[in-house]
């Protein structure tokens, strides 16, 4: 039973890979699936054959889902418009993401519902990335009519990673560029999910708290680490962190999800809520936190792992870490199989897998348990975790970003404990700032000092000769 999810996830991923590199018809895969399903039903009692057939079915399911992801519905907006900046269209729908305002520009994802051109109207579906040449005060769920033309995302001549591919993995095939605020006509209705709208509202509130207590740069770093909001991170800070291999601390990860679960559990315990109810409420809070942080791949991975782990308590079953990881991978890939080719997805799973698999093996090989000094053992274990994560992700980073960062292990030994402290004090600040604002100041100073220290250490790390090199 333990290996079931892991095997299913592996076969499912194989199916996705197979279809991505080999051309096969959707109906051929579907037909094969039907045959294998029938065979599995007929061999229900023959355990071995049944297991093989079920895994084959998982492979075909992956292939079928990938084929289906390539097929767009007839009413998809990409099938209805000319995307060479020709013609003017009127597009109705609603804002499907929190708009990002940068200087004089803003952008958001727009969910299309109705398209109009030359007195013709079509009901349509699909997402469009809208870029405005002016800052506009919009929110998730706002219904709008936009007037403008469409274009396709560019293909970068600098790198092998194409912006077009990146967007298409998110289901976005078109860009709409709007120069004038008169081209944005608001409509009265509100659309979208209420849960997402609530999460985004909460995120804005929490961001305001961070900004209230901290100077610009520390608040940008803390927003990224606690709320997953990277839009205000200066380019140079991000660049330095890429070069030192510590950019992962700016991404909300399993650690943050663990803290949210811990804090929620503790608060509910203090008000004496029963264990089962507490677990259900913790799961609900994890889901809200997932939406607050933008539901990126690492957060979904960590949330699903957390939910599976907690469900283990409810169902009185022991959850193993590989099973949780496989569940998380399946969850993301069933919704969108193209995420398998997303660098963020690969890095997130590769690092966790490397730590889970390599860490105990190397630890027992080096016989770290026999080390008597607690301090020395703690330091060597921290080094080992960083080393495992680096080994797991090095290949993907080198292939995609053409950078090798030998300084990573050293940088992580210093920066990860600091980042842990910052995240913890960040959560304390956010909670205190929200519930008792007069206490916020006590936490903010510590957080700001730790962030300043982190940025200085990071800047010093990349100045070490041979810290990083591009190839």
């Amino acid at each position: 039973m333990k290996g079931l999810f892991v095997s299913a996830a592996i076969f499912y991923c194989l199916g996705i890979l197979l279809v991505n590199y080999i051309r096969v018809s959707f109906w051929l895969v579907a037909g094969l699936g039907a045959v294998v399903f029938t065979a599995a039903c007929l061999n229900f009692r023959q355990s071995r054959i049944f297991t093989v057939l079920v895994f084959l079915l998982a492979l075909l399911f992956g292939a079928l889902n990938m084929k289906n992801a390539f097929t767009l519905p007839r009413c998809h907006i990409r099938n209805l418009v000319h995307y060479n900046n020709k013609g003017s269209y009127s597009l109705s729908g609603y804002v499907d993401s929190q708009p990002v305002i940068k200087g004089k520009h803003s952008s958001f994802i727009f969910r299309a519902e109705e398209l109009q051109a030359d007195n013709f109207k079509w009901l349509c579906c699909g997402k469009v990335l809208v870029k405005l040449d002016f800052p506009e005060d919009l929110n998730y769920g706002d219904s709008l009519t936009l007037k403008g033309s469409f274009s396709r995302p560019y293909i970068s001549s600098f790198s092998s990673r194409s912006y077009r591919d990146y967007l298409s993995r998110q289901g976005i095939f078109l860009l709409m560029h709007i120069e004038n605020s008169l081209q944005v006509i608001p409509r009265e209705a509100k659309s979208g999910s209420r849960l997402i709208a609530f999460s985004l509202w909460l995120r804005a509130e929490l961001e305001q708290i961070i900004r209230r207590y901290l100077p610009d740069l520390p608040s940008a770093v803390l927003s990224a680490m606690v709320l997953g909001q990277k839009t205000t991170i200066p380019w140079l800070v991000n660049d330095y962190m890429v070069k030192s291999g510590t950019v992962h601390i700016l991404v909300v990860s399993g650690f943050n999800v663990g803290i949210v679960a811990f804090i929620t559990n503790l608060l509910l315990k203090i008000i004496r809520i029963r264990r089962k109810t507490r677990i259900i409420l913790v799961i609900a809070c994890l889901l809200i936190y997932c939406f607050i942080t933008g539901a990126s791949n690492p957060v979904i991975r960590a949330t699903v792992m957390g939910v599976v782990f907690l469900s283990g308590y409810l169902l009185k079953r022991e959850a193993d870490v590989y099973g949780c990881l496989a569940c998380a991978a399946l969850f993301i890939l069933i919704i969108n199989p193209r995420q398998l080719f997303d660098v963020g997805f690969q890095l997130s799973f590769a690092s966790v897998l490397a730590i889970v698999y390599l860490y105990p093996k190397i630890k027992s090989f080096l016989r770290l348990n026999k080390c008597k000094s607690k301090v020395l053992r703690f330091i060597s274990e921290s080094c080992l975790v960083s080393l495992c994560a680096w080994l797991g992700t090095m290949g993907i980073i080198a292939y995609n970003f053409r950078i090798v960062t030998p300084v990573t292990v050293l940088a992580n030994i210093l920066i990860v404990p600091l980042a842990t402290l910052i995240t913890l004090s960040g959560f304390s600040l956010v909670l205190c700032g929200y519930f008792c604002p007069f206490l916020g100041g006590a936490f903010s100073t510590t957080a700001a000092m730790l962030i300043t220290l982190l940025l200085n250490i990071n800047a010093a790390m990349i100045k070490i000769p041979g810290a990083y090199f591009y190839f």
Partner: protein
């Protein structure tokens, strides 16, 4: 009374020590303005000084194409250091859009 686990006790201790450090630092800043440097990162950690960057470094940032980078450095050599970032607009090839992006990456001292 609450039956707190060791982890929960540690969390309570952590909160107290963070708050304690914060108040101590706050007091330190009130007494000595120089201590503010401890928790206000320098601008150079977040942005690049346009008056000190070399052509090679500018190209490496990939913010500007090679020719535009050369023009920026040539402008600096001819006219002296930039007195404000707005001056970048005087360099051929840097329009309003590009300036908006560069504004977030560079600073002038």
């Amino acid at each position: 009374m609450l039956n707190l686990t060791p982890e929960e006790k540690r969390a309570a201790l952590f909160l107290l020590i963070i708050a304690f450090c914060g108040i101590t630092l706050n007091n330190l800043v009130k007494l000595n303005c120089g201590a503010k440097k401890l928790f206000c990162p320098q601008v150079s950690l977040a942005r690049i000084n346009l008056n000190k960057i070399s052509l090679e470094e500018l190209v490496k940032t990939r913010c500007l194409p090679l020719k535009a980078s050369q023009r920026v450095i040539a402008y600096r050599q001819q006219q002296g250091n930039f007195s404000s970032l707005e001056e970048l607009k005087k360099v051929k090839g840097i329009g309003e859009k590009r300036y908006e992006k560069l504004k977030e990456i560079f600073f002038v001292e």
